[in-house]
Symmetry: C2
Subunit: 192 residues, 2 copies
DNA sequence: GTGATTATGTCAGTAACTGACATGATAAAC
DNA sequence: GTTTATCATGTCAGTTACTGACATAATCAC
């Protein structure tokens, strides 16, 4: 293999996060990012499709890990169970990345343009989960619905987990599904 | 009131949809849109914040209508019931806009940049629904979870409705919630 | 009519992103 | 160890989305 470029890529990611945090997303220029990383602006765009993408580099790995976890769930497990299993299985990874992902989350929370990107990444995750369910034999549209709802429950659980890490993500997830059933049950009859 | 500009705005929307359909999103220039609408490029950007936004102009109206429908639901109705009520109440509006929204949907389906925008608009809808639920006294995070899940069910129902309009949106919605409960029920015990 | 308001035009400028070609470093072949 | 192919990077010119500043003209209030 020739010279890797992984080095420059990592420096670009680092510089991107730093500058976005220091000056905000809109106030920082791709040229500035490149300069801090010690490369040319053109090189930035060879590594990342656009200005935002440098912040979302690990996503494919995470997505694949989730998909494989769905497939690795016990065969007799129902769809939601498999998704719950998958989300629980990434707790370690998420905990390890916390120091990096929390300032990033704060930045995203105050930057609409970055929120857009998060949403489409999340949609990609949902698609991957749905596809994994299908490979377990779940019908397409049910798989899609289950994946979306599970993702909603996961977001809910993750946000509570950040506030109160003690019980662990799995416990918050179980709680989220409980609340979900509680909110859905009254619909069983037109009037409770 | 002075000269309205509504006229130019409508022409700009029309020209935007036409050109995106004819040449695709990326291949059409804001200058071309403005030219077809008989105005200057600068005028385009005075009416719409960016190139995409001209396609999403009615969203605020729709969002407000949904919010008000949630508030208009019978007072004793539970959260999900109120959301179901709200979604059912916009069936007429959706049916009326079908001729416009279906080609638009096809365009969006093949344009990632437009999908991003749809997702953030949907997120705005979810926020509005969640806010409306809160004004009905629902606790914040439960409201958020319920709004997300209801939106997932709505998307599911709407996509089936497009394929098979006969039963009506409300019936597809009810069916979506049924499927959802079916998918959620096995989680009641760790192993069914 | 006069004058205030406001949509639009004009124009210059910034910054994200792309294509084409040149250069230089690395690794594999010999 | 020299050669050669490969690939990351630099350089540069160009397009396009988007913005600020100022000028013009159409409409409304009077």
């Amino acid at each position: 293999m020739p010279r890797s470029g992984e080095e420059a890529r990592r420096r670009l990611q680092q510089a991107t996060l730093e500058l976005f945090l220091e000056r905000g997303y809109e106030a920082t220029t791709t040229a500035e990012i490149a300069a801090r990383a010690g490369v040319t602006e053109r090189t930035f765009f060879r590594h990342f499709a656009d200005k935002r993408e440098a912040l979302f580099d690990g996503e494919e790995v995470f997505r694949d890990a989730l998909s494989e976890a769905v497939l690795a769930a016990p065969e007799e497990m129902d769809p939601m169970g498999a998704l719950l299993f998958a989300f629980s299985s990434v707790e370690g990874t998420l905990k390890a990345n916390r120091a990096f992902s929390e300032p990033r989350a704060a930045l995203i929370a105050r930057t609409p343009a970055l929120q857009e990107r998060v949403l489409i990444k999340t949609a990609g995750l949902i698609d991957a989960l749905s596809g994994a369910l299908r490979r377990r034999g779940v019908e397409e549209r049910v798989a899609n619905l289950a994946a979306r709802v599970a993702m909603a429950a996961f977001s809910y659980a993750a946000s509570r987990w950040v506030e109160d890490p003690a019980p662990g993500l799995a416990a918050h997830l179980a709680n989220a599904f409980d609340e979900l059933r509680g909110v859905l049950d009254p619909l069983r009859k037109p009037r409770p």
